[in-house]
């Protein structure tokens, strides 16, 4: 299973931005490459990334083969109340992974 790094600030003032950075360890095979034997390497990319904060959706990303291997993504959520940042991604092979990080709003 691919690794996922989710970086959020521990503490944020109310009304300010929760900067959410994530790095998914994933090959993002485009489906256009061929291996040594000339066979097309099947496409396998992270298709969808959904980010929520405190149960409310921050952003829903649809990714395409034009996103680099090991996708890095930076988005921001509005800090209203303390809660978890939940990140879920899905790839072409049907792998689903979720990562959670707690943010305290002061």
């Amino acid at each position: 299973m691919a690794r996922i790094l989710l970086n959020v600030p521990k503490q944020v003032r109310r009304g300010e931005a929760v900067e959410i950075k994530l790095l998914i360890s994933h090959p993002m095979e485009t489906g256009q490459r061929r291996d040594e034997t000339g066979q097309v390497v099947p496409r396998n990319i992270v298709r969808e990334v959904v980010c929520t904060f405190n149960g409310a959706e921050v952003v829903r990303l649809e990714l395409f083969p034009a996103i680099s291997a090991n996708p890095f993504i930076h988005v921001a959520a509005r800090a209203e109340a303390s809660g978890p940042v939940v990140l879920t991604w899905t790839d072409d092979l049907g792998a689903v992974q979720t990562e959670t990080a707690q943010v305290e709003v002061v």
């Binding site: 929520t52 829903r60 649809e62």
Partner: protein, 141 residues
């Protein structure tokens, strides 16, 4: 087969493998129409940060966003007209978004123009683009 026909056929054979390396302008326009729904595109408002000179097309840092939207941004879309597949990223913002910004790293197959479209809640579509030169393409091998 005479000499002229032989040369023409040879030219097609050599050129053919390279033909699909770039999306056709029609494919790019169709991909854009899909997100705008045919609404007219207005220039401006969208900020697309990309380097003008790219040394390695395999990972190009990109930031796309709208700084002061007149109405909330529903979604952001990025297209690369020099890639085989023009779609790069679709971002749909939810109620918890702080600002309509996304930063990521993208692949660019050749020197080209990258377009960004912002669709606002009131239905207006704004666009911005960056022309860039890629010295080492995101290779297919």
């Amino acid at each position: 087969m005479n000499r002229r026909r032989f040369l023409v056929a040879g030219g097609i054979l050599v050129a053919a493998p390279w033909l699909p390396a770039r999306a056709t302008p029609d494919a790019v326009a169709a991909a854009m129409r899909e997100v705008t729904g045919g609404a007219p595109l207005q220039q401006g408002l969208v900020r697309l940060d990309l380097p003008g000179m790219v040394e390695n097309g395999n990972a190009v840092g990109m930031t796309v966003g709208v700084d002061d939207p007149p109405s909330p941004v529903r979604s952001l879309h990025v297209f690369a007209d020099g890639n085989l597949l023009p779609n790069v990223l679709h971002a749909r913002f939810g109620p918890a978004a702080f600002r309509p910004h996304v930063a990521t790293r993208i692949r660019l197959a050749s020197s080209q123009t990258v377009h960004a479209i912002a669709v606002l809640q009131d239905g207006a579509c704004w666009t911005g683009s960056v022309d860039l030169v890629v010295t080492l393409a995101a290779c297919l091998e």
